[in-house]
């Protein structure tokens, strides 16, 4: 079987469309994960035992079950209880929830790593809770979190093909349907690999820049 450039040119628009959906899912999923993670992290720090413990249980549950199962649940099971959402929305929710639990752990570690004396110093100079978070705690907690968050972002990106299982026409799904209808796998699948590799490399480079930027500021 030979590499066919004409075929590549023909399928490129469809593949790029798939890539677009993959990127949209990644960006929205990451944004949701960042927020969900923050909510989980804050709830876990709650002084109310019932809140912190049940949050811990939910987080453990989500982390301990496969993303694919969660996606199936959101897309195929929720409609039975009257919640039908578009496939893409389900995918973003699944990614956001799943990776939100990882983000929560990273946040928690980063925040716990800030010395206890910093909270006390902030209190002693009479900062409010909000000022303490914004000016003292987060600027120290965030930079060390960036490498771990970056790793999860890339991991999530590489897991987006799972969304094909719930009919999202992302990159992998597009490639599969092209391949199936043309009986040619080499070009679409190679291109999928290349796309993923390029995007991973770009995001890693971008996050390195971010990381250095934060380091300089501290």
């Amino acid at each position: 079987m030979e590499w066919d450039w004409t075929f590549v040119r023909d399928i490129m628009p469809l593949l790029l469309d798939g890539l677009r959906l993959t990127l949209v899912a990644t960006v929205l999923g990451a944004a949701l994960a960042a927020v969900v993670g923050l909510v989980f992290a804050v709830l876990r720090r709650s002084p109310i035992k019932a809140v912190s413990l049940s949050t811990a249980a939910v987080v453990e549950f989500i982390r301990g079950t496969p993303l694919l199962v969660q996606l199936y649940f959101i897309f195929f099971v929720l409609p039975d209880v009257g919640i039908s959402l578009p496939a893409m929305t389900c995918g973003v929710i699944g990614l956001g929830l799943h990776y939100g639990t990882y983000a929560a752990e990273v946040y928690r570690g980063g925040i716990d790593n800030v010395a206890k004396g910093q909270w006390e110093a902030a209190k002693a100079v009479n900062l409010t809770k909000r000022q303490t978070w914004v000016h003292v705690i987060l600027p120290q907690a965030i930079p060390p979190m960036i490498p771990a968050l970056a790793n999860y972002l890339v991991a999530m990106f590489k897991e987006t093909p799972l969304l094909s299982a719930i009919t999202v026409l992302e990159l992998m799904n597009q490639a599969k349907s092209i391949a199936n209808s043309n009986y040619r796998y080499i070009e679409p699948m190679t291109l999928v690999g290349v796309f993923f590799l390029i995007m991973s490399l770009i995001s890693v480079a971008f996050l390195r820049v971010l990381e250095n930027r934060f380091k300089e500021r501290t």
Partner: protein
């Protein structure tokens, strides 16, 4: 005779089953310099932390500058203080910690100006002018743009003192501010504190194991043991003629351990 600026009335403090302070009462006059001495675990730090509201109390009342610290007037008497009341009370009190607790991500200047700008609405310009004056006073005028990690322990502690002073508190709390320092750096910090004691009318509470310094610095020395004030008096009385046996034993041990009196 002026009203006491601090009035602690039958304070108790428990951590779980452990009683750290046990019905402690204490009055401090405005401008008074107090030295708190006593064996490890006797509750000296806890007193300061309570005054800074870093620690709550299990019983009793604390009055600072005529107002309740942990309570405020509410329906039919006193109710527990809310955040706003605590912020209101904290404006009168500053604290310097054993381990400095400078903000490591901020320059020396920003460490000092952060709180005045955020909490008192001082303009950055004015805050910086005052910060530079304070740095001058603690002998670090040339370190304004350094990061804390570039400073020695003694320098860090002097910045921490300047940071607390920038808010112009009426009361300053010093918790073993030299005990994390290399011996050769202790004196530079003590000198700053001597100047403060001599040149300001701030009320100062000092927890220390430096008996010589406590003697020179304090108007009154309190000897703590097991959450109680066992003996108090003028420095000469406590250090030269302690009456209580526990004070005598403590001072003997300290001297044997090589601290000068």
């Amino acid at each position: 005779m002026s009203e006491p600026i601090i009035r602690m009335d039958s304070i108790s403090k428990r951590f779980g089953a452990l009683t750290v302070l046990d019905g402690l009462s204490l009055q401090v006059r405005p401008g008074e310099k107090l030295a708190l001495i006593g064996p490890s675990g006797s509750g000296k730090t806890t007193i300061l932390r309570i005054l800074m509201t870093l620690e709550s109390i299990s019983g009793g009342h604390v009055e600072v500058d005529g107002e309740q610290l942990f309570h405020m007037p509410g329906q039919g008497g006193l109710v527990p203080a809310n955040e706003a009341h605590l912020h209101h009370m904290r404006t009168r009190i500053g604290m310097v910690f054993q381990h400095f607790n400078l903000f490591p991500h901020k320059s020396v200047l920003d460490n000092i100006t952060l709180a005045p700008i955020l909490t008192k609405g001082v303009s950055r310009r004015d805050a910086e002018v005052k910060a530079r004056e304070l740095l001058e006073m603690v002998g670090l005028a040339d370190k304004a743009s350094s990061m804390p990690s570039q400073l020695s322990g003694g320098q860090k502690q002097r910045v921490a003192i300047a940071r607390a002073l920038a808010l112009s508190p009426k009361i300053m709390l010093f918790d073993e501010v030299t005990s994390a320092l290399d011996p050769e750096l202790v004196e530079e910090v003590l000198n700053v504190m001597r100047r403060l004691a001599a040149e300001t009318d701030m009320t100062m509470l000092l927890v220390t194991h430096e008996m010589g310094f406590a003697h020179d610095f304090a108007d009154r020395v309190l000897f703590f043991d097991r959450g109680r004030i066992v003996e108090e008096g003028a420095p000469d009385e406590i250090f030269r003629h302690p009456k209580q046996e526990r004070t005598q034993t403590f001072l003997r041990k300290i001297i044997a351990a090589g601290h000068r009196v």
